[in-house]
């Protein structure tokens, strides 16, 4: 009797997990949680868990594979209360967080993790290296032949402004060659608003933040670019905004920092890809 109850409960738990994982994939919500490389794994797991639940219900049942006391596989030795509590632990937090989770971090996490305002603070950054010297016969090296004007590879909006990411400007601050592509050019950036609590003596600056993700939202690093406006911007923290203006790279505290001198700051919808990778 107890074994049958458990079989149905465990099958139900697997089914809930399978349905929730499948929902995240097929609704596209997974894009707000994981790097694209992991999306397909979510779908495969969801389907596999549903199939396992079906297998638990319809395949002929085998005997307990583990001798008593040797391992953690002790389903038949649990009481009804034990089964109920285990099932609650397994599906309760999943369902509650699925309903409650806002699919983006709030300002507290940005403050706790600190904003990366230098590209060297991000994982995977490789310092700039000098291009190779010309070859012996005087022909230019391969890397040099690949150089082309910035206008040909940087995307622009209808007004001709470069559609940049916060991380592009951090790279540009660090790399002199890349800086030429952006310095004193009109740019458009989309990000989340955070007040500037330091380096803001006149009160006319704020931070434009994007989350830089390697695997999932839990490892997200806030990446910030300073935006300077004619008058102090008053917007809700972490609300999505579009900034257009001129990219500048003044030297502050001994290093080049990206500062966008804004022409306009307007609220906007979150982009389809809320992370940058």
């Amino acid at each position: 009797m107890m074994a049958t109850v458990q079989r149905y409960v465990w099958a139900g738990v697997l089914m809930v997990w399978g349905v929730v994982l499948s929902y995240f994939y097929f609704s596209g919500r997974v894009g707000s949680y994981l790097h694209p490389a992991f999306h397909i794994w979510t779908a495969a797991s969801g389907i596999a868990l549903v199939l396992m639940a079906a297998g638990m219900l319809f395949l002929p049942q085998a005997e307990d594979p583990c001798p008593a006391g040797e391992c953690l596989h002790t389903p038949e030795r649990k009481t009804l209360w034990g089964v109920a509590i285990t099932a609650l632990i397994l599906i309760g937090p999943l369902l509650v967080t699925t309903v409650v989770s806002p699919s983006q971090f709030g300002a507290a996490v940005v403050m706790n993790r600190g904003m990366a305002d230098s590209i060297a603070d991000l994982p995977g950054y490789k310092p700039y290296t000098e291009p190779p010297l010309p070859t012996e016969d005087g022909s230019p090296p391969q890397a040099a032949m690949q150089t082309e004007p910035a206008a040909s590879y940087l995307p622009t909006n209808q007004a001709g402004q470069i559609k940049a990411q916060t991380v592009d400007l951090l790279y540009a601050a660090q790399e002199p060659t890349m800086r030429e592509d952006f310095e004193n050019k009109e740019v458009e950036l989309i990000g989340q608003f955070m007040p500037a609590k330091s380096n803001n003596p006149k009160g006319d600056r704020f931070n434009l933040v994007r989350m830089f993700v390697m695997c999932c939202a839990a490892d997200a690093r806030p990446v910030a670019v300073t935006v300077q406006t004619a008058q102090a911007a008053k917007l809700p923290e972490m609300s999505w905004i579009k900034v257009t203006g001129k990219a500048t790279f003044p030297v502050e505290a001994g290093r080049s920092v990206p500062v966008v001198v804004a022409d306009s700051v307007t609220p906007t919808d979150a982009p389809p890809e809320s992370f940058i990778y």
Partner: protein, 306 residues
């Protein structure tokens, strides 16, 4: 106004919690499915054929057997008990028990995936290499111990006696059903620990002001041993712990490495599981020895600047 050392936001917590769950579940599922299939379809005599009779070589090969026969740490103790019943030397069994949860293709894949963009290849190689090295060293030490000080009396009575497993139902579908049952059992058990681990790490990664722990994270010794203590408490599965280690952004690479090497060998739940086969005094010595060994090796590896 200074940021407080701890700020709890349930929405931030739930977002981080859910993202790690979604990321880790596929790897736990893959590991437990494989574990179930191996449990039902791989006779223990097949493993025995691979092992050389020389004790040193036997230990070295046993420590690498996880690459062919991967097992997670939760399910490995029954397996080594069955293998010891078939005549596998205790030192070989300990080598396999400690190494297989780390030195296996699923863990290699999950570690690489979790650290992509953060020296993934280096972390994966060092994790598997350090795990293998520690397992071999410990197993060689066990080889020199009298068997009576290692195994529980009841286990020792049947070890090496050629006792048959006497398990495994006949018929393909019955075996598939049994494999599924093992896999589901493993999956649900591991998920309970994983959910608690993810909850604690999400609380830590969203609530704690990273500037407060920065002094701890800046010192390799403090960072390494504190994350090792954390690994023991969290008791995570080796197929998923890399995803949690990768979220400790403020900590140095060697501390994350120590977290990932120690956890699958010694944690709170494993102390209980090991006690089913080994004497309590041996389990305690094993835990202390591995803790110190992993810590010293990983701190030494700080020269690599991961």
């Amino acid at each position: 106004m200074p940021v407080p050392w701890f700020t709890f936001s349930f929405s931030d917590f739930s977002y981080a919690f859910l993202s790690v769950l979604l990321e880790g579940v596929p790897f736990i599922l893959l590991g437990t499915l494989l574990s179930g299939l191996i449990d039902q379809f791989l006779p223990s005599r097949v493993m025995m054929r691979f092992l050389p009779r020389n004790p040193f070589l036997g230990v070295c090969v046993s420590a690498g057997m996880g690459m062919l026969f991967p097992m997670c740490e939760c399910g490995i103790v029954p397996v080594i008990r069955r293998l010891m019943n078939k005549g596998l030397p205790v030192s070989n069994a300990v080598a396999y028990m400690l190494a297989a949860p780390i030195v296996n293709p699923i863990v290699a894949l999950s570690t690489w995936a979790a650290f992509r963009g953060q020296n993934a290849a280096e972390f994966t190689i060092l994790r598997l290499g350090t795990g293998y090295f520690v397992a071999v060293l410990v197993a060689l030490a066990v080889y020199n111990l009298p068997i009576g000080s290692v195994l529980k009396t009841g286990v020792m009575a049947v070890t090496g006696g050629g006792v048959s497993d006497g398990r495994g139902p006949a018929g393909f579908f019955a075996r598939i059903s049994a494999a599924l049952r093992v896999a589901v059992s493993d999956f649900l058990d591991v998920m309970v620990y994983f959910i608690f681990g993810v909850a604690i790490s999400s609380l830590f990664s969203t609530g704690v002001n990273q500037a407060v722990i920065l002094p701890l994270a800046l010192n390799d010794w403090l960072a390494t041993f504190s994350l090792m203590g954390f690994a023991m408490i969290l008791s995570l599965c080796s197929t998923s712990d890399a995803f949690i280690a990768a979220t400790f952004v403020a900590f140095p690479g060697v501390a994350k490495l120590a977290f990932m090497v120690l956890g699958p060998m010694v944690d709170l739940k494993l102390l209980f599981i090991y006690s089913a086969v080994f004497k309590k005094r041996f389990v305690l010595g094993l835990a202390v020895g591995i803790f110190v060994l992993v810590g010293l090796i990983c701190v030494r590896l700080s020269v690599l600047k991961l």
